[in-house]
């Protein structure tokens, strides 16, 4: 079995020897992992920051509509409900999935990885954890949909009598996506790779 002797560089994908210390990738020279505990703190800090921004993004409006001098503001959930009421069910579901469900799912997956790495598990469970981590990396950027939609609407609906602008919620939301991605990237790959088996 050669499972724990090797580690994959998360930056360039190169195979390196695994050591219980700081490793610099032999190809790209990036730091693969500092001390595991230090990395955990970084991942936790990023996650907590992301959660705070997620709460702010849901409280404050993401979209401000100024129509003939009358201003209305939409939060993320408010926008989803409005779309649902208008009968745009698929779009309401897409926005709900990308802006509400995906970030929450990602929070829980990172939380699961950060809180479960010390528990002894059988090989297959650890492989599942690696798959979960891979999944969080793939779905994370899709939360950006709502930010892009707001940016597009703010650009094309920008007239004298009707105007759409981004709200404070948009800034909080984009920062939430950013910090969630950083949190996932800060997780030391050694925390989740130990179950991988050699072939």
């Amino acid at each position: 079995m050669m499972e724990n002797r090797y580690i994959r560089c998360p930056y360039c994908g190169s195979v390196n020897y695994n050591k219980d210390e700081v490793i610099y990738c032999r190809n790209c020279h990036n730091k693969i992992g500092s001390k595991v505990e230090a990395n955990l703190h970084t991942a936790w800090a990023m996650l907590v920051t992301a959660v705070i921004f997620y709460i702010i993004a849901n409280i404050y409006p993401i979209l401000v509509i100024d129509k003939f001098g009358v201003t209305s503001q939409n939060t993320i959930i408010g926008g989803v409900i409005a779309l649902w009421d208008e009968g745009s069910y698929p779009i309401a579901l897409i926005i709900f999935f990308a802006s509400v469900f995906v970030p929450l799912l990602k929070f829980f997956l990172i939380l699961y990885i950060l809180t479960n790495y010390k528990k002894p598990k059988k090989g297959s469970k650890k492989v599942d954890q690696a798959k979960l981590y891979h999944f969080t990396e793939i779905i994370g950027p899709w939360s950006m949909i709502d930010v892009f939609v707001v940016s597009i609407l703010a650009t094309v609906v920008h007239f004298g009598n009707i105007k759409i602008t981004a709200g404070i919620g948009a800034t909080a939301f984009v920062l939430m996506v950013f910090f969630t991605m950083l949190s996932a990237m800060s997780i030391d790959i050694r925390l989740i790779k130990e179950g991988a088996s050699g072939n």
């Binding site: 360039c12 195979v15 790209c28 939609v149 940016s151 094309v156 920062l175 050699g198 072939n199």
Partner: protein, 207 residues
């Protein structure tokens, strides 16, 4: 203890270690545990990515120069381009949103394209070996932050939101953007790191 690390590949999905073998033309190696693609015929994959990065560059320039959509609301008309979108965000003092949008739909995709081209030139002339390593690393990171495909889906979502209130006409860039996204997903984002490193070793060391 001294196996050549270049002869190993680790699955990005489940982290299973595999020994690398030379593949016949157009064959793909998959992970024995999770079935994730590990690598394919290396020369083929790299040259495909380089040639399509030229295509991608042309499409990207067109996608940025001309309107993606034209919107008519009553007697008002407006257009959407990537630069105008970023400029609007900055004009309204949304610097954080504007900066991140600028990075993920403009800077990162361009970085990916130019990284492929630079890598091809450097390996062709067999110069600046260490710099080439950094380019591969940079390419892998910038690929994660390039989100033009998500931006494409967002345009569709925004259009549905506007349908009841506005007349919408696709611009030249809409077609260029769709083609760019396809090229990006099929050729530029699908290449595996191990394919790049194998190409790199062959180009510089003949291994």
């Amino acid at each position: 203890m001294d196996e050549n690390l270049d002869n190993l590949v680790i699955c990005s999905k489940c982290h299973t270690v595999h020994k690398k073998i030379d593949l016949p033309y157009k064959k793909v190696a998959k992970c024995a545990v999770c079935g994730n693609k590990l690598y394919s015929d290396v020369e083929n994959a790299f040259y495909k990515a380089v040639s399509y990065s030229v295509t991608a560059l042309i499409l990207f320039v067109v996608a940025n120069l001309y309107p993606i959509i034209k919107v008519y609301i009553g007697s008002n008309q407006s257009i959407l381009t990537i630069p105008s979108m970023v400029a609007t965000l900055f004009d309204e003092n949304f610097y954080v949103v504007g900066s991140i949008v600028l990075v993920v739909i403009f800077i990162a995709p361009l970085s990916v394209i130019f990284s492929y081209l630079a890598l091809w030139v450097l390996t062709y002339f067999k110069i600046y070996k260490n710099f080439s390593k950094h380019i591969i690393s940079f390419l892998m990171v910038s690929r994660n932050w390039a989100m033009v495909d998500i931006f494409g889906v967002s345009i569709l979502v925004a259009l549905v939101k506007l349908f009841g209130y506005a007349q919408i006409q696709p611009g030249v860039s809409a077609y260029a953007l769709v083609l760019f996204i396809l090229v990006d997903l099929i050729f530029l984002k699908s290449i595996k790191p191990v394919e790049l490193w194998t190409y790199f070793s062959r180009a510089y060391d003949g291994k």
